[in-house]
């Protein structure tokens, strides 16, 4: 029903080998993420849990190549991606990773159709094909009659569905979600979570940061972080 189904595989999609991130503030080294080993197989639903400031977002930003690690390796489909140059990093973000944010991060001056098109613009998809794909995705998320609406005209749940559609635009194997239900009420949050479950069912690899322990039951794999130390399970 949703996007092209990806066959579940035993091959590791993501492999972290001693991946670490240290910040320096006022001459003091702060370990945001201590050396972490982790294997995420294709088709997994990984939840990253832990209290605020524990390093969940740091791990997600490392997954999303928004920051560079200070140590260790990050293999995506067997290829080291943490030390690529800016163009190559952008290409990985464009084609391999879809991002969903807590605050949606839709561009308010664009229609929702145009918002969904943004990642495809950077993938240089021809305009007609791009708009057709965007319409298909919005149709799937029940927004078929709202193409021309602006994000400000939509409810929180609708905005998050647009954001998910945008994350899926280039059909990436990995979806990263940072507290995707954090800004939504419980009922809407549940609806959004169902979408992620559906995506997981069709083969997407989901990595979701949450501090809501209830979501653990949907996950095939959980990492808990305490004080920058990631522990599986």
């Amino acid at each position: 029903m949703l996007t092209t189904s990806i066959e579940p595989s035993d091959a590791p999609l993501i492999e972290l080998r001693g991946l670490a991130k240290t910040y320096e503030a006022g001459g003091v080294q702060i370990a945001a993420l201590r050396p972490t080993n982790l294997v995420v197989r294709s088709g997994s639903f990984l939840t990253v849990m832990g209290p605020s400031g524990s390093g969940k977002s740091t791990l997600l930003n490392l997954f999303g190549l928004l920051i560079r690690p200070t140590g260790g390796r990050y293999l995506l489909k067997g290829k080291e991606v943490s030390q690529l140059d800016d163009d190559a990093t952008s290409a990985v973000r464009c084609h391999m990773i879809g991002m969903v944010f807590q605050s949606f991060n839709l561009l308010s001056h664009l229609t929702i159709l145009e918002n969904v098109c943004v990642p495809m613009q950077y993938a240089r998809i021809p305009r007609t094909k791009m708009r057709r794909r965007a319409r298909e995705l919005l149709d799937q998320f029940g927004l078929g009659d709202r193409y021309k609406s602006r994000p400000t005209q939509l409810s929180g749940g609708q905005c998050q569905r647009v954001a998910i559609a945008r994350a899926l635009a280039n059909d990436p194997p990995v979806i990263l979600a940072d507290e995707p239900t954090g800004n939504l009420d419980e009922k809407t949050g549940q609806e959004v979570l169902q979408i992620f479950q559906e995506l997981h069912r069709v083969g997407k690899t989901i990595i979701m940061v949450t501090h809501n322990p209830i979501y653990r039951k949907y996950a095939t794999q959980t990492v808990t972080i305490h004080d920058g130390r990631a522990v599986e399970g």
């Binding site: 163009d87 290409a91 973000r93 991060n105 145009e114 613009q121 950077y122 945008r166 280039n170």
Partner: protein, 424 residues
């Protein structure tokens, strides 16, 4: 990002704050408008000056007699006759000594009234020789027309050639050929109709189209070899009022003019002549134009600098305001250069729109200036907008956009994706 997508994206960003975007371009609009308007007026003035100069004949040196000031007259006039201007001796000297002269055409102002009914007119009667037509770039209008011939002055049948404007005044819409014009109580038969295509003037004074020409021999036989005119009890004696000296080639003009001036300075004790050299005027018009161009370029540079700084300012504010958008775009796969080009394209589009509006405003201003300057009924300014000036104005707008947009766009591209994404 594909160019089409870039255009759509940039357009969407600019129309988001339409008024602000337009205000940001105001400096460019006014700068370009000032440049286009001034260029148009300058070009109009230049063409008008060149037309006037060329209508005198670029290869001519024109000498004309000037009556010395009144004070001079009384001091110098022991007799009742005041003699001044170009003399027969001057004429002979030029004819016998100057080598690079193709034509030497004397013109006398016969100073006789021409009447229409009982009314005097402003039509001037002059006496000259057949080469007049060649030297002054005038031409015959009617196929039956002819100019005066060397034999015309020798017969007792006074003939004349009439300028088109004079013909209208004298005969209205009737055919002037064969009709009679009365000049100082003598009837002249009209044998030709002539016009000056550039609307030129005889030594910059009498309009060629508003004169009547007769053979110099006719004038002499009717009114004597010299011209007398009574005024405050003093008679004036002028051999020739004008002398057209056509050079064999343009290059010989400066030398010939120099020798002529030197000769006249030595031969005349008073400033009773003027030497007009259209070629020199043309050279000085070119020089004036160069100065004008330098002044214009300076004004344009200053106004575009001001406009460009305005654009840079608004783009920097824009980028600060849209930092989060930049972060989102980077997170969704935009490369640094995608961001760079997006913001650069925005500033170039802004300045180009500003340039376009400026061109429109400039053309409008020039035409208003033209209309206002002509309100008094005088021949005022002429504004000529050239395609070249429009192309230059738009090109300069684009260059301004690139120059002042690069720094903000580069700054935007260098933003750290995560920091930008977290920007509130």
């Amino acid at each position: 990002m594909r160019p089409l997508e870039m255009t759509v994206t940039v357009y969407a960003s600019l129309t988001r704050h339409l008024i602000r975007s337009l205000l940001a371009t105001l400096g460019i609009v006014l700068g370009i408008a000032a440049v286009v308007a001034m260029l148009a007026i300058g070009e109009g003035g230049r063409r008008e000056a060149l037309r006037q100069i060329e209508s005198q004949g670029v290869d001519n040196i024109i000498l004309h007699s000037i009556k010395p000031s009144e004070g001079n007259v009384q001091q110098s006039s022991r007799s009742f006759t005041q003699r001044y201007g170009i003399t027969q001796a001057d004429f002979d000297h030029v004819r016998n000594v100057f080598v690079n002269v193709r034509l030497l055409v004397p013109v006398m102002d016969v100073r006789r009234d021409i009447l229409v009914g009982q009314q005097t007119t402003d039509i001037e009667a002059v006496a000259t020789i057949p080469e007049f037509l060649d030297a002054t770039r005038c031409r015959l209008v009617d196929r039956r027309s002819r100019f005066i011939k060397p034999t015309d002055g020798k017969v007792l049948d006074p003939v004349c050639v009439v300028g088109v404007k004079a013909a209208r005044k004298l005969f209205g819409h009737l055919d002037p050929l064969g009709k009679t014009v009365v000049i100082g109580n003598v009837s002249f038969r009209v044998i030709g109709l002539m016009e000056s295509p550039g609307g030129g003037r005889l030594a910059g004074q009498f309009e060629f189209n508003n004169i009547v020409c007769m053979p110099i021999e006719t004038a002499r036989s009717l009114w004597g070899g010299v011209t007398f005119r009574m005024g405050r009890g003093i008679a004036e004696q002028v051999d020739y009022d004008f002398l057209y000296i056509a050079a064999k080639e343009i290059d010989a003009i400066p030398g010939t003019a120099g020798r002529l001036r030197a000769y006249l300075k030595a031969a005349h004790t008073q400033a009773d002549y003027e030497v007009q050299v259209p070629y020199e005027l043309m050279q000085s018009a070119r020089k004036t134009r160069r100065i004008f161009t330098i002044v214009m370029t300076s004004i344009a540079a200053i106004s575009l600098l001001v406009g460009g700084i305005g654009i840079m300012n608004i783009m920097l504010a824009n980028i600060f305001e849209r930092t989060r958008e930049i972060g989102v775009r980077r997170a969704l796969g935009a490369r640094k250069r995608d961001i760079l080009f997006q913001f650069l394209a925005e500033s170039v589009l802004l300045t180009t729109i500003g340039g376009g509006l400026g061109v429109g405003l400039g053309i409008g201003t020039a035409s208003v200036a033209e209309t206002v300057s002509r309100m008094g009924g005088d021949a005022g300014l002429t504004a000529v907008v050239t395609t070249e000036s429009i192309v230059v104005a738009l090109a300069v707008s684009v260059i301004t956009g690139i120059t002042f947009g690069t720094h903000p766009a580069w700054k935007a591209a260098q933003l750290d994706p995560l920091t930008a994404l977290r920007h509130e």
